[in-house]
Symmetry: C2
Subunit: 245 residues, 2 copies
C-alpha cells in the first residue's frame, strides 16, 4: 500500500467546504473522485483541516492510500487533470510512510485572514477578502490580539456546533498588520476550534472600529461564553496557508 501526502490549493467559493456533504460539491469529494479515476481505487482522502464553505486554501495538506504504484509527478498531474475544471490544484504529491497522517501528525496549522478596509465593494477580490468600510485601527487590533495569544479556554470564540473535546487551545501566533487598505491577520496553532479564527476576527474588527476596548476582549475571553464574543467574520477572507509536521 502506498501513502501519498498532497499539498492542495483551492478557491473555497465553489465548495460546501472541505468535508463531503450531501448538499453540494466538497474538496474532499473532488479529490476522492480524482484518485478513483487515476488509480481505479475507491479511497478516503484525509485532510489536515476541515475548512468551511467559502474558506480558501493555499496549502491544505491531505493523505490517502492506494495499491497502485505511481510516480510523484503522475499523482500530482493526474489528479489535477481529473479535477478540471474545479478550482482545486494539487501543488505537490509526496510518497510518505504509513506513520504519516495529515490530521493527526500535524504539529502546527497556519491561517491568514484578509480584510480590505475601504468604502467601496470589491471587484477583483470579491469572495477573496472581507470588505469593511469603517476605518480600522490595526495597531489596537494587534494589541487586542495579544490578549488571546497563549493557552486559553476559547469557548467565547467557539462555534456552537464545534465537535472538539476541549475548548482549551494554545494560540502560538496572532498578529494584525496593515499594508495600504489591506489588513492581514495571521494565526498559528497546533489546532483550532470550529469558527475560532472567524470569531476572533469579528471581535478584532469591533476593536479596530473603536466599539470595543482591549480590556473588553480580555473580559470576553474570560467569560467563556460565546454570547460575549464578537460576530463571526465571513468565510471569504480566510485562507488555510500551511501545515507543519
Amino acid at each position: 500500500m502506498n501513502r501519498w501526502k498532497l499539498t492542495v490549493e483551492y478557491d473555497g467559493s465553489d465548495f460546501v467546504g472541505w468535508q463531503r456533504q450531501d448538499n453540494g460539491p466538497s474538496v474532499q469529494q473532488s479529490l476522492e473522485e480524482a484518485v478513483e479515476r487515476l488509480a481505479g481505487e475507491t479511497v478516503r482522502v484525509h485532510g489536515a483541516g476541515r475548512t468551511d464553505a467559502g474558506v480558501h486554501a493555499l496549502g491544505q495538506v491531505a493523505h490517502f492510500d492506494v495499491e497502485k504504484d505511481l510516480s510523484e509527478r503522475a499523482v500530482r498531474d493526474g489528479l489535477n487533470h481529473h479535477m478540471r475544471p474545479a478550482r482545486i490544484t494539487v501543488l505537490k504529491a509526496e510518497a510518505v510512510s504509513q506513520d504519516f497522517h495529515a490530521r493527526v501528525s500535524a504539529r502546527e496549522r497556519g491561517y491568514i485572514y484578509r480584510i480590505v478596509n475601504r468604502r467601496t465593494p470589491l471587484a477583483l477580490d470579491r469572495g477573496r477578502a472581507w470588505q469593511t468600510g469603517r476605518l480600522l485601527d490595526a495597531e489596537v487590533m494587534n494589541e487586542a490580539a495579544g490578549v488571546l495569544i497563549g493557552r486559553h479556554d476559547f469557548t467565547t470564540f467557539r462555534a456552537s456546533m464545534c465537535q472538539a473535546n476541549s475548548p482549551v487551545k494554545t494560540l502560538d501566533v496572532l498578529t494584525v498588520v496593515r499594508t495600504g487598505d489591506e489588513i492581514r491577520i495571521t494565526a498559528r496553532a497546533r489546532s483550532f476550534l470550529h469558527h475560532q479564527i472567524r470569531n476572533i476576527t469579528g471581535t478584532l474588527v469591533q476593536v479596530g472600529e473603536g466599539r470595543w476596548s482591549v480590556e473588553q476582549v480580555r473580559q470576553a475571553l474570560e467569560a467563556r461564553d460565546r454570547s460575549k464574543g464578537g460576530p463571526t467574520a465571513p468565510p471569504d477572507g480566510l485562507y488555510f496557508t500551511d501545515v507543519v509536521y
Copy 2:
C-alpha cells in the same frame, strides 16, 4: 454641465473589454447604463485606456458629463449600486473641470503583468495571472526589458489591428521582478500600442525560458516586423493600474 472623473476597478474576465461591442457586456456599457439609472441622462463614458477582454483594472480612469447636480459620494455609491452584481467598482468619483479628458489629458499610464511560474494550474489566481511551467530567469528578462526602454518604433510588438497613427512610443519604465513563484512586469508610458505589453511579455518569457537571447530581442525590435516578435501573452495577467494627469 458637470464633468465627473472616475477611478475604476474591474475584473476583466466578465467583459468583452472596456469598449462597447455587440458581442457581450463591456465595462463602458455597464458604466453608461449605471449613469443613466443614476442621473436619468444618456451619456458617453470616456476611458483612459481601452483594455481588451480579460484584462483587469485596478485604476482605470474615465470621465462623463451630466446636467444633474450630485455629490461625489452620490456618484460613487450610486454607480456602484446600479452596477451590481457586475464586478466593476467605482473607487473614487471627483468633480473636475471641462478641461479634463480621461484619455487626452493622460500624461502617463501604468500597467503590471503577473506571471505565476509553476508547474501546476492556478486555483485561486485562475484568470488573474499567466501560469507558465518552465523555470523563468527573471534577471535576464529584466535585462532584455532594458533594451525596450526609451523611444522606439514598436512595430514588432504592435497588434495588426492597432489603430494608433504611429508605431513610435516612449516606454518610460519596463522592469521584471521575481518574488517567490510570481514574476511581475511593470510598464509605464504616456501611451501604448494595441497588445504592446502582451506582445512584449510573450517575448520576455521566451528570453526567461532561455529560447531567446537579449540580443535577439534587440534585433526583433529593430526589425520593425510583428512576425519577428514573440507570441502574445494571454490577457489574464494584465492589470491597468493607474493614470497620471
